[in-house]
């Protein structure tokens, strides 16, 4: 009787420990999953606002064309850069998470647009009627607003990535992460130059 009781208590202690370990394991795993999901949501938001920026460009090109038909070269450059960026964005939106390679391509294509737009806006200086038109002013507000949304979404993406990366590289995440293939995620580090919002002085 006495012996049986001792065995029982050892077994039950073991069960409690194993159950505790399992619960802890699940808790850590869920933590990793939810922070990975936060990264995915943030990256979806980045893609949404980048698409928003691309959607504004045809309208802008049309408006500028109405006043400055002769500036073909600059307008074509903007349209081309937009097409390329649209291609990159379409490829990426098929994937669930952003890898280093995708992010580099994304940043490069967006940087191209930024510099093409910069040329466009410096050209606008020569057309006072265009610069003062309500349509152009509205487009400029929309574009600036979108640049700001991109900055905010990018910052939130990086924050989510930082939390996730910290989780998988520190205890206890670093034990569980390799078992389920949680890998480090890249940051969206735009070049200072490329991310500066376009500012047109009046």
């Amino acid at each position: 009787m006495k012996q049986g009781r001792a065995v029982l208590s050892i077994v039950s202690t073991l069960i409690v420990i194993v159950a505790g370990l399992a619960l802890w394991f699940i808790w850590v795993y869920n933590g990793l999953v939810s922070s990975e999901k936060a990264v995915e949501e943030a990256s979806a938001q980045v893609q949404t606002v980048l698409q928003r920026r691309l959607d504004l460009i045809p309208n802008l090109v049309e408006t500028v064309k109405g006043y400055a038909q002769h500036e073909r070269e600059v307008l074509v450059a903007v349209t081309k850069a937009r097409e390329r960026a649209q291609g990159v964005l379409a490829d990426i939106s098929k994937k669930k998470s952003l890898g280093k390679k995708e992010l580099v391509a994304l940043m490069a294509s967006q940087g191209e647009i930024t510099s093409a737009l910069k040329n466009l806006f410096s050209l606008v200086e020569n057309y006072p009627d265009l610069k003062a038109s309500q349509n152009f002013l509205a487009l400029q507000d929309q574009l600036e607003g979108t640049e700001n949304r991109i900055a905010v979404a990018r910052q939130r993406y990086n924050y989510a990535v930082r939390r996730y990366n910290t989780k998988i590289s520190t205890f206890p995440g670093n034990i569980i992460a390799p078992m389920f293939g949680f890998a480090e995620k890249p940051y969206f580090e735009a070049k200072e130059e490329a991310q500066k919002p376009i500012e047109v002085k009046f």
Partner: protein
């Protein structure tokens, strides 16, 4: 006894720790102040007079009650090392602007006089109503001219008027419902919507108003009928003609407009009167054009007959007509020669004329 004093001291020190633990940055708290005399206006840069502040508080209280919009206005002596967009977004999230609404319907108005920047940031629940283009437009065409003349309180109020008329329009069209709204996913109050402008407060002594050419002077002279004069005025508005010396204005009105800040946005707003059926009443040298079939956002026009023809009497209108928080007009004085037109209508104790309901 000593024990109680000790316990009291412990509690006091805990309380004080929390009280002073609120982070401050450049004299602006990083979290919504717990104890504050105001709910909506935080004038850390001291730009608004106490009377102006009280008026704005009342206005914003109504904005919150009637339209479920929580608008917080902050003037700050410094943005630190941040851009105004970064600063506004940080404050927006930390203060959780819009948390007292049915779904992230917050607006943050930031004025940074020393950096010469102004920004209106729009919460996620209002992005559909106040688009970036609209916000940019009211900043540029309404707020900026007032701010440049150092009339910050008045400029904020004038900007709020356009916000109200926008929301009223959306409600009428069924595109906004103050009693609806859902909490947004993701836990953020703002995704960075809105617009910012460079504004140098106090850089303009008095608004420059371009003088019109001789041809236009002739065109905008006093007209043989009140309707024609109003028509010319609406045309002047749509063409953004700000010259105060047009013949369609009475002498007192000319003087009034010389000292008045006229903005493109106000003039664009007059578009609502174009083609709207009105009622005209004339008695002697006085005429009133009013809109009994419309709501109170359509205020009446007073006209006076001079030797050259009918002229608009904005000087009297500005003295006796006021607008409330919903942009509804009412009389603050009945002591003027234009009251004859309203004799047969009931006027309530707040000065509202009841066209539709009870006729005497």
């Amino acid at each position: 006894m000593g024990k109680y004093v000790f316990v009291a001291l412990v509690f006091l020190s805990i309380f004080l720790t929390f009280f002073f633990a609120i982070g401050w940055k450049d004299n602006v708290p990083m979290h919504r102040p717990i104890f504050s005399s105001s709910r909506f206006i935080y004038d850390y840069a001291h730009l608004v007079s106490p009377e102006g502040k009280a008026r704005l508080e009342k206005f914003l209280e109504h904005l919150w009650r009637d339209y479920d919009i929580e608008l917080i206005a902050i003037t700050t002596p410094s943005l630190g090392n941040y851009t105004i967009s970064e600063w506004a977004n940080m404050i927006f999230e930390n203060w959780h602007v819009g948390k007292n609404t049915r779904g992230e319907k917050g607006i943050l108005f930031v004025v940074a006089p020393y950096e010469k920047k102004v920004r209106l940031e729009i919460g996620r629940g209002l992005e559909g109503v106040f688009t970036d283009a609209f916000v940019g437009y009211i900043e540029r065409e309404q707020m900026k001219p007032f701010f440049e003349e150092a009339r910050v309180g008045v400029g904020v109020e004038a900007t709020l008027e356009l916000i109200v008329s926008r929301i009223e329009k959306f409600i009428k069209e069924g595109r906004y419902n103050p009693t609806e709204g859902r909490k947004q996913e993701g836990g953020f109050a703002s995704s960075g919507a809105g617009a910012q402008k460079n504004v140098d407060i106090g850089s303009v002594h008095r608004q420059k108003k371009d003088v019109v050419t001789e041809d236009l002077k002739e065109y905008f002279s006093a007209q043989p009928t009140p309707q024609l004069t109003l028509e010319r005025y609406l045309e002047a508005c749509s063409r953004h003609i700000k010259d105060p010396n047009l013949g369609i204005y009475t002498e007192e009105t000319k003087e009034f407009f010389r000292n008045w800040t006229v903005t493109n946005a106000q003039m664009d707003n007059m578009r609502m009167y174009e083609g709207v059926p009105f009622k005209l009443m004339i008695e002697g040298d006085y005429a009133v054009i009013f809109y009994p079939d419309k709501d109170w956002t359509y205020s009446p026009f007073f006209l006076k007959k001079g030797p050259a023809g009918w002229q608009l009497d904005f000087a009297t209108m500005s003295k006796v007509i006021r607008f409330n928080q919903n942009n509804y007009w009412f009389f603050v004085s009945f002591d003027h020669p234009y009251m004859f037109a309203f004799r047969k209508y009931m006027i309530d104790e707040n000065g509202f004329v009841w066209f539709k309901y009870r006729k005497r």
